[in-house]
Amino acid sequence: MTTSISRRTFLKATGLTIAVSVTPFGFSLMNASAQKEGSFKPNAWFEITPDNIVTTVIGSSEMGQGTHTALSMIIADELEADWKKLRVKQGPASKEFSNPHPTLQPLQITVQSSSVRMFYGPLRKAAAAGRVMLIKAAASTWKVPEEECTAFKGTVTHKKSNRSLTYGQLCLKAAKLDIPKDPPLKKESDFRYIGKPMARLDIPAKVEGTAVYGLDVSVPDMHYAVFARPPAYGAKPVSFDEKSALQVSGVVKVIPAPMGIAVCAKSLDAAWKGRKALNVKWDNGALPQMDNDFIEKTLMEELDKPGSKAMEKGDARKALEGAAKKIKLTYFVPYVAHTLMEPINCTAYVQKDQCDVWAPTQGQTVAQLVAGEVSGLPPDKVKIHTTYLGCGLGRRATPDFVAEAVIASKVTGKPVKVVWTREEDIKADRFRSATCQRVEGGLDGQGQLIGWYHKAVAGSIMKDIAPQEIKDGVDIMSLWGLVDFPISPDENRILYGVPNLYIEFLISGLPVPVDAWRSIQNGPNAFVTECFIDEMAHAAGKDPLQFRLELLKERKGAQRVLQVAAEKAGWGKPLLKGQGRGIAQHHCFGTDVAMVAEIAVNEKDGRVKVNRVVVAVDCGLAVNPDTVEAQIQGGVIIALSTALKEEVRFANGGVKSANFDDYGVLRMSEVPSIEVHIVKGNEMLGGIGEPGVPPTAPAVANAVFNATGARIRRIPLTPERVLAAIKSKKT
């Protein structure tokens, strides 16, 4: 490699920059500052500059899960950086930030609670390499052995001669060194930041109101676009009044597009007025008779149709035939909406040879691909500027909103911001799928679970985004918590030790679009499995905790969290009349969670009040324990919302729910105390954003049974439904 003037300039400008190339086969470290000018310049994971600042560049999206802080903590710790001299920057769309998870390669995508657990290893290696290079630079400056130098809080010190240099002073020299291939890692006992509750780096700007979310993006000469969207699935426009829309002051263009008709204007107000003037008449759509009753009836009918085998162990049918005791139960979970507090939006500017996209996106790679396809530019000409996300829940990994902004900008030639109202955000949402499931269980004479036949009907997430991933009628995305993924290191299957198990699956033919929703289908599926196990325990005449522990003999992680949750909650201690306790556990994204819900049921009006939830979580190492607590509490709260309140209403073949007045979510008075106990037992790191969700609804439903003796196999547990269940039990 030759040293040119330009390369030196580059070094001066950047200091020491460490980048990492992630491939399906692992990762390799690169000294990005030593890359030849004009050659491939990898994007940095962190850089140290002469002003003595360490800048971490995080490719994962920050949506409140604290990933910018947690990933920076990992770098700072292994680098021995000074936390006070650290800044964090959102990374661009770039290969270097692709998610190392085998099922997500080569996408840069923030999903499946994967950022911390997947980047932990590579980031530590990269930061360790930086530390070694800085020490080497100091040692050679002082002409002393490297072993005599120590790095601490952004400074390398040679104690013997009482000399020290800051990382800022060393970075240019270190940048000229070769990168060590396999730098030694610190001992866990020497961690300074990892494992400590650290204040999040993004909070001060969010408290000041200066943090920029997608909706806050402002570009010179920015226009706005809003879409008139079909009121029913499959509905096509019959007529619309383009002339009247264009007569509204400020409206510049009307664009018929596949997802609706866009009205582009100089202000948002004008765009909305133009959309009203457009007065679109729609036909009745694909299934005008569809409402909630129709949906439930259809899913129940589909449950009787033959499905595909998703997994098989032993002979469940035979085991059930020979069982001493058998039960057969049907469960239903409705569609629920994301209602992210920041409604869906995106800004795009398509120019001759460049397309800029400002988006609150969880999926930079797919956003880049879609923007490239729509704009007609190669993906590498698409720049993705990821803003803060006003919540994500999985919804923002699908790039439909990116396509809308790019279409509007391409046609108008202006930078355009697409804004969805809350009504659009709910009506055009891609919901968490409803599911109908039937489970048959058999016990032998000793009350051992010997057979489990499980049939599930649900919508398919892959149908719209990657239909080639559906194998023999099985969309594995619908079966989280029931069946293992073929190439995933994560365990997704039912972990109870049952010798005979059969899982059958059928993709529902309903036209309702579905998508990932915090924990994907682990939520609905765990509601079924954990309520079912509770009923089996009851049928076996065993305590629900003991029954679970016996079936999880091989699963030390699950046993530990169950025991801790039960002990902290006072499992078995007497409760007042009308009160009940329920327990549930679930493993997903590498993390074991168990919880006990303590509730009270008002037998007069059927109201369920959740008083207390005690959670035990084992995610291996809790990188930022303060975030672990916050994420588990958040997961429990949103799941309580689905357990008690949320259900999308449909009418006339489309969505009837429109806003927070008719789509209720959990509010302050309904939030119980939630204790989070972090258990450190697992070797591997687990995710934390999602695993709080799945055990929550079943723990509450099991507690309702404990309080009332009524089993309710359907959420939400509305007062009417609870009252009806209590009454039917009495008659």
């Binding site: 109101g209 920041e342 509490q633």
Partner: protein, 155 residues
């Protein structure tokens, strides 16, 4: 022309009388800390102070806000007990709803400096957070009360 007093500054904007105050604050005054969440006054993300009271700016036509003293999250002093408490207690997750929630809390505390649990819950039932920061909001309020009690600045 509409004249508005926001955070102690006077702005003149050329917008229609019926435009919701929220969009004037966001798109014309470029004070984007005030958020759009629902447009019907249900979620509280757009909460600002009008003459010291917490109001939903998404349902107030800009004309009605003329001649009144408007404060947004950007106008709440950096050392305000609520802002300090929100950082101290690490209340925020995605943060989108928090400016509105903090404005709701600031108004609550200026009206009743030591609210009891019932008052807190009744007031905070009117706002929505989807990340599930409710328990930390409660903690944040208690801490803000303490900071204010120790002589922390109240707006």
């Amino acid at each position: 022309m509409i004249s508005l007093n926001v955070n102690g500054k006077t702005y003149r904007v050329d917008v229609s009388d019926d435009m919701p105050l929220l969009w004037v604050i966001r798109d014309y005054l470029k004070l984007t800390g005030t958020k759009f969440g629902c447009g019907i006054g249900e979620c509280g993300a757009c909460t600002v102070h009008i003459n010291g009271k917490a109001e939903r700016s998404c349902t107030i036509p800009v004309k009605e806000a003329q001649g009144k003293k408007i404060t947004t999250i950007e106008g709440l002093p950096q050392n305000h007990p609520v802002k300090r408490a929100w950082i101290q207690e690490q209340v925020v997750q995605c943060g989108y709803c928090q400016p509105g929630i903090m404005m709701q809390v600031a108004a609550l505390l200026s009206e009743s400096p030591k609210p009891n649990a019932e008052k807190i819950i009744n007031t905070m039932d009117n706002v929505i957070c989807r990340c599930g920061t409710h328990l930390r909001i409660k903690r944040g309020i208690r801490t803000a009360v303490q900071i204010a009690g120790k002589g922390g600045k109240q707006s």
